[in-house]
């Protein structure tokens, strides 16, 4: 059974077709990097997987449970809200802009969801939060507020916040794109550590180096389609498709 499976996912924004039949199977413990030019639909695809966006047609399964499938009319038919809520609990999400709660301290940011959603006891939630903050190297910032942290620190808190819900899959939507270059390293290191612990990860990224080093599989998307995919080395060092080559030469040129 796949950890996550998407089959033939289509998505339109008004007239604009963003996803034109995307399929992806993710095994437990797999780290997948999704790369591609902006506007290729990679972020939208990631957002569809945990229903931040709804799809028009296709199938999405989380650990064999159906989140959405095609109805008799061929259009996407979502499972009941309560079931979807349980599935979404298995997925953590890290955003480009961190989206920490500015009115809550770092510690409270981590404790909030476990307490509200899982009814975790305060003391237990705090213990989990402190452990995770130590893990991302920010134990000493527990009582600070997000605005007092650097971008890199905020993103590490955001990762810890997602982990506090004990997810089975972590989705990263361009986690380093909003950061000054000096801070990307610390965030990527936290993500590497996660990968080492066999976390299942889906990472939409422009960090080719990270993809090569950490991802088991790299997926290149362009214009709403998966153009090429395979082992990181293969796709990144020896791309077969013209569009992949063009994209990679542009990205690598820029550095």
């Amino acid at each position: 059974m796949y950890m996550l499976q998407a089959v033939d996912v289509y998505k339109k924004f008004q007239r604009l077709e963003v996803l034109k039949g995307i399929s992806l199977q993710v095994r437990k413990g797999e780290v997948i990097a999704i790369i591609g030019p902006s506007g290729s639909g990679k972020s939208t695809f990631l957002r569809c997987l945990n229903r931040l966006e709804t799809i028009d047609s296709g199938l999405i399964e989380i650990e064999g449970e159906i989140m959405v499938k095609n109805g008799p009319d061929g259009k996407a038919l979502y499972s009941p809200e309560a079931e979807i809520a349980m599935m979404r609990r298995k997925m953590g999400m890290v955003f480009q802009d961190f989206n920490l709660f500015p009115h809550k301290s770092v510690l409270q940011n981590l404790m909030l969801a476990p307490m509200l959603v899982k009814n975790t006891e305060t003391s237990e939630a705090e213990q989990i939060a402190r452990t995770l903050l130590d893990k991302v190297g920010l134990g000493f910032k527990a009582d600070n507020y997000p605005f007092e942290l650097s971008g890199g620190q905020q993103q590490r808190v955001a990762i810890a916040r997602a982990l506090a819900m004990n997810p089975e899959i972590m989705c990263f939507d361009e986690p380093t794109s909003a950061l000054d270059p000096e801070f990307t390293g610390e965030v990527l290191n936290v993500m590497k550590d996660l990968a080492m612990e066999n976390m299942t990860m889906l990472v939409v990224t422009h960090e080719i180096g990270f993809a090569r080093e950490v991802a088991h599989r790299v997926i290149f998307m362009d214009e709403g389609l998966i153009v090429e995919q395979g082992k990181a080395e293969a796709v990144l060092l020896n791309p077969q498709h013209e569009r992949t080559k063009a994209f990679l030469s542009k990205v690598l040129m820029a550095r």
């Binding site: 931040l52 997925m91 955003f95 009115h103 909030l112 969801a113 507020y145 997602a162």
Partner: protein, 213 residues
């Protein structure tokens, strides 16, 4: 000086009435405004449209007209309130409409990412509103709310038209009776003190919310 002192008992009593209306209006319209703002942005169309209509009517007509209507107008169809109740109803209805619009703009100024973060963490809509959105909204709307509160202090003077002896009416009585301008000045000082207090209070409140950005 003796003359000023002789004015004070009546004026303080008038101020008491003014303050009573002020506090009743605030205590009710501040929370009602929140509920109205949420109704105003709900996706449930009928409620949404009803709220737009309500806000249009109560912001689009003079408070004075609303006051007359509730006290005199409704009395003619048999709905009678005592003067002070009529005043409170008019003020609460009117101020709730203004506050609702301020809250609404505050809610809508919160970044979409906050909703999404709450959503992926599994918070319900209600939890998202009460724990994430509204607390941040209150901080943002403090400056426009303080404007409204200062307006409210001054608007209380309007209720003299339905014969309530609040500060301004008492002042006018004395000024006309004694043929003196002094009561006007004393009244002005009263209003300034009240609004000075309001300003200081909001300054303090804004500082208290300064622990985050």
């Amino acid at each position: 000086m003796d003359y000023v002192l002789s004015l004070l008992p009546a004026m303080l009593e008038g101020t008491g009435v003014t303050l009573k209306l002020f506090f009743y209006t605030l205590v009710m319209s501040l929370p009602i405004g929140v509920v109205m703002a949420l109704a105003r942005i709900t996706k449930f169309k009928p409620l949404n449209i009803l709220m737009q209509l309500y806000i249009w009517v109560f912001r689009g007509t003079p408070l004075l007209l609303q006051l007359f209507f509730i006290y005199y107008g409704l009395a003619q169809v048999g709905i009678k309130f005592d003067r002070f109740t009529a005043a409170i109803i008019a003020f609460v209805l009117n101020y709730s409409a203004y506050l609702a619009e301020i809250y609404r703009s505050g809610i809508q100024s919160i970044d979409r990412g906050q909703y999404e973060a709450a959503d992926v963490l599994g918070l319900t809509r209600l939890q998202t509103m009460t724990k994430i959105i509204l607390p941040q909204m209150f901080k943002r709307v403090l400056p426009p709310i303080s404007n409204e509160v200062i307006n409210l202090v001054k608007d209380t003077a309007l209720i003299y038209v339905i014969g309530i002896s609040e500060l301004l009416r008492v002042t006018k009585t004395s000024a006309v009776r004694d043929f003196s301008f002094v009561p006007w000045i004393v009244a002005a000082i009263f209003y300034l003190v009240m609004n000075g207090t309001v300003q200081q209070f909001f300054k303090w409140l804004e500082q208290r919310f300064n622990y985050y950005r």
